[in-house]
């Protein structure tokens, strides 16, 4: 992972951060876009700087495994909140 590639990824991260922040502050109704930018930053950082791509698939499975259970927790808890009526 040459230095130039790392700097490129870093620039990408900063750009995504800038986009997310400015959009959310100027047009609050589009604030959800900031979350999309954040997701992009997270994946870019994990695969770029943390080199998750080079590790064995088992490690990658555990890295994203936690996400599966979080999605579970979110959907069922918020489903209860929204259908409380």
């Amino acid at each position: 992972m040459k230095t130039r590639k790392l700097l490129l990824i870093y620039a990408g991260l900063l750009m995504l951060l800038a986009i997310g922040a400015t959009v959310a502050i100027q047009f609050p109704q589009w604030a959800m876009l900031a979350l999309v930018c954040a997701a992009g930053q997270a994946i870019l950082l994990l695969f770029g700087l943390a080199e998750l791509g080079t590790h064995t698939p088992l490690v990658r499975f555990f890295a994203f495994g936690a996400g599966f259970w979080l999605v579970l927790m979110f959907t069922l808890s918020i489903a209860d909140l929204l259908t409380r009526g």
Partner: protein, 215 residues
């Protein structure tokens, strides 16, 4: 006998086996950190849905531009950490120490800006308990400020922990306890932990400062 074999921990037969076990162990630990902050994110988004008006008012009072600058600090820290890991693989002691100190600097800068932000909010009376009368009318806004304080505080504790570990690594290299590139894997683990702290802040920043601002 491959040079890396000498540093074989007790139960392992081959270095590759130990290397993969270390990565798997580290990522399982990082998964527990993600689950812990996951619980906190549920609290944040649960209350966003339950009290949109109150949360909107609280988010309106937060200083999101200052926090954006703070996020940039952490991203730079992550860059330095990756450069350090790359240097440690080449065994370049000087460069590794310099980059480690640079990362620690960015970590401390993040904490300093965070402290300044807390002070600013304290003077505005936003923080719970002590401080002047809170300008927030909605009780749900004060509830959100509580969550904001707890979430950023917990993250700050993790950043402090990360900075102390980095400084510990610098000390170990200084007294030549760590031979590179054989023991580079330890530095890679510290790098992973730092990247995780950064990922958590990347998601925490919009969840607290950006989404659902009062129009």
């Amino acid at each position: 006998m491959d040079v890396r074999e000498q540093y074989l921990a007790e139960p392992y037969q081959t270095a590759a086996q130990q290397r993969e076990a270390t990565f798997l162990g580290m990522w399982v630990f990082l998964a527990t950190e993600i689950m812990m902050f996951g619980g906190l994110f549920l609290v944040i988004y649960y209350y966003r849905l339950q009290h949109p008006v109150g949360v909107g008012e609280a988010v309106h009072h937060l200083h999101s531009i200052l926090a954006a600058f703070n996020s940039a600090l952490l991203l730079t820290g992550s860059l330095c950490m990756s450069l350090m890991v790359q240097a440690s693989r080449l065994g370049d002691y000087r460069r590794v120490q310099r980059l480690l100190l640079l990362t620690a600097f960015f970590g401390l800068a993040f904490l300093a800006v965070k402290g300044f932000e807390y002070g600013w909010e304290y003077r505005e009376g936003l923080l719970p308990g002590m401080g002047p009368e809170s300008p927030l009318k909605e009780p749900a806004a004060r509830l959100f400020m509580n969550i904001y304080l707890f979430a950023t505080g917990l993250h700050a504790v993790h950043v402090t922990l990360g900075v102390t570990i980095i400084l510990g690594m610098v000390v170990r290299i200084h007294f030549a306890h760590m031979k590179l590139p054989e023991r580079a894997i330890t530095l890679e683990m510290v790098g992973l932990y730092w990247h995780l702290i950064d990922v958590i802040w990347i998601v925490l920043y919009p969840s607290l400062y950006l989404v659902g601002r009062a129009v």
